[in-house]
Symmetry: C2
Subunit: 351 residues, 2 copies
């Protein structure tokens, strides 16, 4: 199936997200595939057999979030200039979110912008990075602090690439789909409750719905001034959990899963959601092997870390909360007392 993405506020003409087996792709320009050794090892031959270009080359960057920085961007740029790419050339991001973010950012600044397409190979990248146009890298001050809003020319989602994805990473991607359903679409949530996504058709359908929902959100708010913030459901808590565990213990999706459970309990505390629904979300997360709890050592310290986020322009903490399943409410006036009460439920019990 093909989902057309049309960003009303964007300079670009929009693009399609195609969810299907990867078709043959033909280009009358130079094409460079940007990938990492892991993805290349599994799937590069397959990809190369599908692409016909005036000139086809591959740039490989090291695998891992720790290489998502400006130094790697400079290395990629150097290779592209050495290969004499011109303004009509095309980059293909072939990998997970890190590859997508870096390839998109490189494309946005190479000769003031060249085209790129995304062929995401992780579930998270397929549902998340494929829509929204966020590109960028980390620096010593934080994550994604340098980058651009830059849209791909096309996205191809082929779930065959997920066959080699570690189970844990697949689950982390599921956290994203569950998040979208809880925020925006009760019917989608119920579909995820009933279906185990083991068939090609079910998984394609779930990915498509998640992509559609994200496109609907982003289209209303490309530059993240309003509703797009709702995509951060679970993230206020997740960021603190990731910070406390030095980004080592949990994959991002796992931290978000825990964060959703925390947000749900806060939502229950504010009488926005029933305990039954809190449990239904928890059960769906468990079904996909996602963690639902975390031992907080010191709830005061945890609370204070909400204020660390460099991107927030003022000192109010914004919580994205489910209002029943399939709807949301944004609150920035919740008392510290209420929040601590919820955090206390996760306090580590010393034995």
């Amino acid at each position: 199936m093909i989902i057309p993405i049309r960003l009303e506020s964007s300079t670009v003409r929009g693009y399609n997200v195609t969810i299907d087996r990867l078709p043959k792709l033909s280009f009358d320009t130079k094409v460079v595939i940007v990938t990492n050794p892991t993805v290349a090892g599994f799937h590069l031959d397959n990809l190369l057999s599908k692409i016909d270009a005036k000139d086809l080359d591959v740039v490989t960057v090291k695998d891992g979030e720790e290489y998502k920085n400006l130094d790697t961007i400079v290395d990629i740029l150097d290779e592209l200039f050495t290969k004499q790419l011109d303004r009509k050339s095309l980059l293909i991001a072939f990998g997970g979110g890190v590859i997508g973010d870096m390839t998109g950012f490189t494309a946005s600044i190479y000769q003031r912008g060249i085209d790129f397409i995304q062929i995401p190979t992780t579930l998270l990248a397929q549902v998340d990075a494929s829509v929204g146009g966020k590109t960028g890298v980390n620096n010593r001050f934080g994550k994604n602090l340098i980058g651009a809003f830059y849209q791909p020319k096309a996205v191809y989602i082929d779930i065959d690439f997920l066959k080699t994805l570690p189970k844990r990473e697949f689950s982390a991607g599921m956290a994203e789909l569950i998040k979208m359903s809880v925020m925006f679409d009760r019917e989608f949530f119920e579909f995820l409750e009933k279906d185990d996504l083991s068939s090609r058709d079910s998984l394609n359908r779930a990915i498509a719905r998640s992509v559609e929902l994200k496109a609907w959100v982003v289209n209303q708010d490309e530059k993240e001034a309003g509703i797009r913030a709702v995509l951060n459901y679970g993230h206020t808590f997740a960021h603190v959990i990731e910070n406390e565990t030095n980004y080592r213990e949990y994959l991002h999706g796992e931290a978000v899963a825990i964060g959703m459970v925390m947000a749900n309990l806060l939502s229950y505390e504010l009488a926005l959601i029933s305990l039954d629904e809190v449990d239904r979300v928890k059960n769906l997360l468990i079904k996909h092997n996602l963690p639902i709890t975390y031992e907080i050592r010191d709830i005061e310290i945890f609370y204070n870390k909400f204020f660390l986020d460099k991107k927030s322009s003022n000192s109010k903490i914004k919580f994205i909360l489910p209002k029943s399943i399939g709807d949301f409410e944004v609150r920035d006036n919740i008392s510290k007392e209420t929040i601590l009460k919820v955090l206390a439920k996760f306090k580590r019990v010393d034995r």
Copy 2:
């Protein structure tokens, strides 16, 4: 006077170019002025006295094209993160084209884009860099090869800043105004012929007309696919001259002045312009102390250097030629013979 710039294809809401004495500017955000020691020495106190902000700071970068590279961008970014600028903060580019290009590029990638305004302090930056949204830096492969299209939020042009500009740089800026008049506006050309621009009103009027013309061109072709190439009148020759003299002998505007004379003679050779008009352009350049000749050592070598431009996507050389004064024609099918015939007029005579 205020010239509204509305780029139809752009994400941004457009902005104004204000040509007047610099007004008091008030911001309810953090503001960082990016400038160099030369401009700061002459004018920073004046600028600081005009700006009211929640928090006001200055970042100084070294003066000169040789520092227009990614290393300097990384240094500026580091300073901005250290100063904890957020997404609502604003940068002010206070200097010539180099400062404008680097500040705009930095603004485009800081947290995926923050606002910036331009207060250009050279004539060239006032008429050229203030419209078009081209930002970027050089690397070892060439000029402006890394960058973004990114529009300022506002531009303030105050000719008082030109009082400290070296005469030679003022003249180089005049080459840009003359270029615009020859390409697009006969009446403007005749105004420049008659007026010596010594009065505030005349100079403001000339700058305004040049800005208007550039905005008209850029609005039709923001991403440089068509008519915007006409702004490169004189540049095909100028780039070779700059290359042969290692960018040391001529300011860019001076090389463009010589390039215009060469293009005009080519235009005459093709019967597009009269010899009288060729002379009128030459005389206007002379009036502003611009060079009009160059000694070519070897015309074959000079010719072959036309093909060096990394940005051209094919091997045809495109010449932008005046068709009488105030109109243009783009040709990419001129015979080598014809071009060599024109170049021969500039051949060095060994004495």
